[in-house]
């Protein structure tokens, strides 16, 4: 077997284009993933025409919120190009200099201050559907954030007013020229004292009713602050993970990239290796007593598995330069990579055993691997339950999903635990090795 392994490595060394692809492919994928994860997406260029007067402010309950401060939230999410007029903003969008334009009308502060009508922003888009979608969602998210900030501000002001009403105090803060306001909470005791000096009769009865009203109002106004908070932000998100361990998106992306590279390199190499024996007509000569068919399957499996293991590990280490990985788990990484390489290798040998030439084997390997990787990444709930069950069944009989889960468990400690995935991969290795052996009966 060692002579055959040596021969295959020699052939591999002489196939310079193939070696270049096998080396460059994982490096390129590792670099792309690394750069994508380490650099935030670029901010879209947006023309901003702020038509409000400089220093314009929204006045609420005697407090002022500057329009400029309010919209700084918007500018932080985009790369702003400040313009002076709406026409200028439209021109920037037309020329492609900006992907969108936001026009802040002159009357925005007055409208917000009136509390009776909503302020309105004008957004002008250009570019293709994808760019529009990105810019639109960024601006909408920014406006939602800014509105939330404004609503918090309004709520604070409203709470101050309610406090003043309940506890009384200096009204000059609200711009009212009066020295001191009696609070609703003090009103009942003041009324009780007044009622005590009041003789029985109609006036006393009316004062008792006013005292009841003051009691009721004081109690209910106290809870109105909580009501205002709820109205301002009716839904808050609290996350609870019911099952498994949360895998950060960046390290999961690493695991996906490494798994895909491991799969392609291993399946293509194994399928090509065995198909080359047929293409060179050497299979019949080998199997007439020189090498057993089982030995040939194992040899190709070791060749493809070994090469892809080295490349996948190098890739993982390469991405480690961009993403923090727990190197103390290196033993688990290797276990997952070895099991994955064996299963992919066996799949590749089975594909190669069914085809008569290298090109057909490579094509079949691609056609089979790509959709399998895609299917394995479809999350539960993204498709109808019946279809998801079919996808799960298909993914279970091919190694990609099990390899992905094993590597995710090894790198990120994610659920399901690595043991089950390793057993799954070894079972698939056995299954595809048997299929490969059957395929090799046709010399």
């Amino acid at each position: 077997m060692r002579w055959l392994l040596g021969k295959d490595l020699l052939i591999l060394r002489r196939s310079r284009v193939l070696v270049a692809v096998l080396v460059v492919y994982p490096i390129a994928i590792a670099l792309l993933i690394g750069l994508a994860l380490s650099r935030s997406p670029g901010k879209p260029k947006v023309a901003i025409a702020n038509l409000a007067a400089p220093g314009a402010a929204v006045e609420l309950g005697g407090s002022k919120i500057e329009v400029g401060r309010y919209y700084s939230q918007l500018f932080s999410e985009v790369q702003p190009i400040k313009v002076k007029t709406r026409e200028e903003a439209v021109q920037k969008v037309h020329s492609g200099e900006a992907l969108a334009a936001v026009v802040i009308p002159a009357n925005i502060a007055a409208k917000l201050s009136s509390v009776l009508s909503q302020g309105q922003l004008e957004v002008i888009y250009n570019g293709d559907a994808l760019q529009q979608s990105v810019v639109q969602s960024k601006i909408q998210a920014a406006v939602a954030q800014a509105n939330l900030a404004l609503s918090v501000q309004i709520r604070k002001l409203a709470a101050q007013g309610i406090n003043l009403l309940l506890q009384g105090g200096d009204l000059s803060r609200l711009g009212i020229a009066q020295s001191h306001l009696l609070g609703l909470e003090q009103a009942p005791s003041v009324l009780r004292e007044a009622i005590a000096h009041q003789p029985p009769g109609h006036v006393r009865q009316e004062l008792l009713r006013v005292q009841e009203l003051a009691d009721f109002a004081a109690r209910n106004l106290n809870i109105s602050k909580d009501v205002l908070a709820t109205v301002g932000q009716p839904v808050q998100v609290h996350s609870t993970l019911v099952h498994g361990r949360r895998t950060p998106l960046d390290t999961f992306a690493v695991v996906v990239a490494v798994s895909i590279s491991l799969m392609f390199v291993c399946v293509l190499l194994a399928a090509g290796g065995i198909a080359l024996e047929r293409e060179d007509n050497t299979l019949a000569r080998l199997t007439r007593g020189l090498v057993s068919r089982e030995g040939l399957v194992v040899e190709k499996l070791l060749l493809a598995g070994g090469c892809s293991l080295v490349l996948a590990f190098a890739m993982l280490a390469g991405i480690g330069a961009f993403v923090t990985l727990d190197w103390s788990r290196i033993g688990l990484w290797l276990a997952a990579l070895v099991a994955g390489a064996l299963a992919f290798g066996a799949l590749g040998v089975a594909i190669g055993a069914l085809t008569r030439e290298v090109r057909a084997a490579s094509l079949l390997a691609f056609l089979l691997s790509l959709p399998l990787a895609f299917l394995a990444l479809v999350p539960a709930g993204a498709v109808a339950p019946a279809l998801y069950n079919v996808i799960r069944a298909i993914s279970a009989v091919f190694p990609f999903k099990a390899a992905l889960q094993a590597l995710d468990a090894a790198v990120n400690g994610a659920e399901p635990a690595i043991g089950g995935s390793l057993v799954h991969l070894l079972a698939l290795t056995l299954l595809f090795s048997v299929l490969a052996r059957i395929g090799l009966r046709r010399a």
Partner: protein
């Protein structure tokens, strides 16, 4: 030289599903014999050689002589095109577990006149030279019998001439050679014994001259072309089969 058979087929039958490719074929090959296996397309020549070489198993019957004692040269060169001539010979010598691979490779390069092409990749060689490497691989284990499937099919006349000279030398040195061919004139010229296979049956097993007599030529002294005689023989054989049916 012992006259004991180095290769024997006893009642070999090989089927592909319902179709019978080889039907109860029996014969023996003695040391140094040069045997041509001829027959029309689909007669079962390649299947019979594959069974004799141990590449395929017989459904019935048996083959005498071990696979190691039989060298096999398939019609399409079965060698690695990305390896050099010497690397191919060394690899196959090691797989054949020959005692001294280096010495064997050197000897085969000399014997096949490929020493000056030893370091060339097989994929860059001409068809004739590839076939020589293919034959050299078949001879690495110094087999008692060599089976060649259409060895001259892809060669030009000069290369064919060199090939038959090489095969004749092998036979002269005691190696038994069984080769299949479409070219019946080649069989007449190079072989001392002819096996005629038709629809999987062995119809004739004797010298080329005997085949001419069986075809109705030769004996009367009139000059009959060997190919015409072969065709006439097949037609007569087919006619007898029809009337027997």
């Amino acid at each position: 030289m012992s006259d004991e058979a180095v290769l024997s087929a006893k009642g070999i039958t090989r089927r592909y599903g319902e179709r019978v490719a080889v039907r109860e074929v029996s014969f023996e090959v003695r040391p140094g014999e040069l045997v041509a296996l001829i027959g029309p397309n689909g007669a079962g020549k390649t299947t019979l050689l594959s069974v004799l070489a141990g590449v395929q198993s017989a459904d019935e019957g048996s083959v005498g002589g071990s696979a190691q004692g039989v060298g096999w040269v398939p019609q399409q060169p079965a060698i690695y095109t990305k390896l050099t001539v010497a690397e191919n010979l060394a690899l196959w010598a090691r797989l054949e577990r020959v005692a001294d691979p280096r010495e064997t490779v050197r000897r085969m390069l000399e014997q096949t006149d490929l020493a000056d092409r030893a370091d060339e990749q097989v994929g860059r060689l001409s068809g004739g030279n590839r076939q020589r490497v293919n034959i050299a691989v078949g001879l690495l284990s110094e087999p008692a019998a060599l089976l060649l499937d259409e060895p001259s099919a892809s060669l030009d006349p000069i290369q064919r001439g060199r090939l038959w000279q090489f095969i004749a030398d092998l036979a002269a040195q005691g190696t038994s050679v069984v080769f299949s061919t479409h070219n019946v004139a080649e069989a007449e010229r190079c072989a001392r014994r002819v096996l005629v296979l038709h629809e999987g049956r062995l119809l004739f097993d004797d010298s080329p001259q005997a085949l001419m007599q069986a075809a109705g030529g030769g004996a009367a002294g009139d000059k009959v072309d060997f190919e015409e005689g072969f065709v006439a023989f097949l037609q007569r054989a087919a006619g007898s089969e029809r009337s027997a049916a």
